[in-house]
Structures are given as C-alpha cells and as structure tokens.
C-alpha cells in the first residue's frame, strides 16, 4: 500500500526554499529563449566579455536546470 508522505508545512518554507520562492525573476525570460541565447552567452563568458543580458542572468538564477546546462556549456568550451 502506498503511504503518502506528510504534507509540507510552513517550516519547509525557510532558508534556501524561502529565497528560491522569493527570487526576483523579472524581467521575464522563457526557458526556450534562454536556450536560444545560451551559446552566444557562453562564448561571451569564456571570452571575458560577459554579455549585458539582464534577462538571461535573471533566468539562470531562477531556473536550476537552465543554470546547470549553461554552466556546463561554459565548462565544456573551456576544455575544448
């Protein structure tokens, strides 16, 4: 029989979780647009000329999956 874990209470909304819930993700940028810009963004990062792309920076702070993939691309470019 499946036993459901207890529902999370307010105590689960502290520390990093509260920070993540209250992250300011404005200006809005979609994950799809983030993917579109990721290659130029990563090249600019490794060339020491980070792009002034506030929406991209904001999105990467607010989306763990896109952040991992962008960082991975930067690291890969540094290796090749």
């Amino acid at each position: 029989m499946n036993q459901q874990p207890p529902l999370p209470g307010a105590a689960s909304l502290s520390g990093p979780t509260a920070d993540a819930l209250l992250q300011d993700t404005t200006p809005w940028l979609s994950c799809e647009e983030c993917f579109e810009r990721m290659d130029a963004y990563a090249e600019a990062a490794i060339n020491g000329a980070p792009q002034q792309d506030q929406a991209m920076d904001t999105h990467l702070r607010g989306c763990a999956a896109c952040h991992e993939e962008a960082q991975s691309l930067v690291d890969l470019l540094r290796d090749v």
């Binding site: 207890p6 529902l7 999370p8 209470g9 502290s14 979780t17 090249e43 607010g62 999956a65 890969l76």
Partner: protein, 251 residues
C-alpha cells in the same frame, strides 16, 4: 553505431594530448568550414559532416553525463555509453531539424554543443526519477508547526509563516502545488513537465508568476523592501486546470 565514451566525455581512442592523432583529432581536421552548407548538401561532404557532428555531440553529451554521474542509477561504462550515444543521436536529430535557424551568433560547434547538453541533462534527470513518484502536494499549515522548529531563528520563522500565509491567499492550488514540487520537493523541472504532460517553459512561467505574486504580497506586508518588483500581479488568482495530483514513474 555506438561510439565508446571515455569518462571525461571524449570518445575512446582519443589521444591524451589535444594535438595527438586519434579519431577526435582526425574528425576536427575533417570538420567542414561551413557546417550549414555541408549538412545541407548531398553526397560525401554531407556524410562527412554528419560524422563530424556526431563526434561533437558525443563529446558534449559525455561531458554532461559525466557532470551528473552521481544522479545515475547505473554508472557502469556500458550504461553510460548507451545514455551518451542515445542523447547524442537525439540531439543530432533536434539540431538538424533546426539547422535553418542557426544565425551565426556563436560558433557552430558551440551552438551544436548546447543541443547535446540539453538532451543529456534531460535524460539523466529522467533516469534519476524514473522509479519515483512525483506527488503534487499542497501545503498544510496544521502540521509541522513552524514555531516548534528550533532550527529557525525568529526572523526566519516569521518569514516562513508569512510566506505560507501568502501562498494560501494569493496563489491558486495549482500554482502552490507546482511551487512545492519544484522548490520544496526539488523535482527537476523537466521531470515534472514530462509527468504533467506540459513543457519546461510552461512550468517556469507558472513559477515566475508564483514569485511575482509572493514578492508583491510580502513587499506589501513589509517583509521585503519595496519598489523592487517591476510587475504587479492581477488582484485575484484565476483558477487553473488542475492535473492529477500524483504521477507515477515508469517501471
């Protein structure tokens, strides 16, 4: 045909020195000057370009799988090779379908890498969660009383209570459950999207709306400094369609 992958993501047989002879070096030497033209052409140039592109994709997919190896249920070389090659193949298909959209804002190889990284990361996260249920849980303020949590300082307790209160008052049930799944239960966004039959972008938009509403509410209540938000949420959350509350993993 499957290409064996080294632990660092390079293809097997690659010389240790970047300049050394080996399949990867040979492939780089053979790489077309104009990828789009070569991949759009017919004949031997097309075949060679596809082979070079596959090498790139395997390298990038291998790089990504190696970064996330701790999340893999099976880290045997055979299993890793399979994941890497499948991701590379699927990324190639995705790239070729979007070849006409390449605008040259980066090198072609960088543009290609991101497809493989996305595909490999998505696949690793899917495998990590494939046998786990994803429950869309709501918050319950009646349990786990926040004031009984000794690990929280007074300020943290106050914010947590205010945040929970705001989540109940300014979010729809759906928004609250998505926020809990992504940020409390740490379900990866692409895994949740797959289970709910939606897209990663749609879930991120929901999360963005959640954050705007919560920031607006907590700013109004004095918990956050004002004038930071550039968007004002609509006053009343509109009910959204609620998917099932539990999505099982594939077995």
């Amino acid at each position: 045909m499957m290409t064996a992958v080294r632990r660092d993501g390079a293809t097997a047989g690659t010389a240790t020195s970047p300049a050394g002879p080996g399949p990867e070096h040979a492939s780089a030497m053979d790489a077309p000057m104009d990828w789009v033209a070569a991949l759009s052409s017919d004949g031997p140039e097309h075949t060679a370009a596809l082979r070079s592109l596959h090498t790139l994709m395997v390298r990038a997919a291998g790089h990504q799988v190696w970064r996330m190896r701790a999340a893999l249920p099976d880290t045997s070389p055979g299993a890793v090779d399979l994941i890497v090659n499948q991701a590379a193949d699927e990324a190639m298909t995705a790239l070729l379908g979007k070849l006409h959209t390449f605008q040259g804002r980066s090198r072609f190889t960088t543009w290609a890498f991101k497809f493989a990284i996305l595909q490999a990361a998505t696949e690793v996260r899917r495998l990590q969660w494939q046998h786990r249920e994803v429950s869309l849980r709501d918050l319950d303020l009646a349990i786990a009383p926040v004031h009984d949590s000794p690990e929280l300082c007074a300020e943290g307790r106050d914010l947590a209570v205010a945040l929970a209160d705001a989540m109940h008052h300014v979010l729809t049930t759906y928004q609250r459950r998505i926020a809990v799944a992504l940020l409390v239960d740490a379900v990866p966004i692409d895994v949740l999207a797959d289970r709910l039959g939606t897209s990663r972008g749609a879930l991120y938009k929901t999360l963005h709306d959640v954050r705007v509403r919560l920031r607006h509410e907590l700013t109004a209540k004095g918990y956050l400094p004002g004038t930071q938000d550039r968007q004002t949420p609509t006053p009343t959350p509109q009910p959204q369609e609620e998917p099932g509350t539990t999505t099982g993993g594939t077995r």
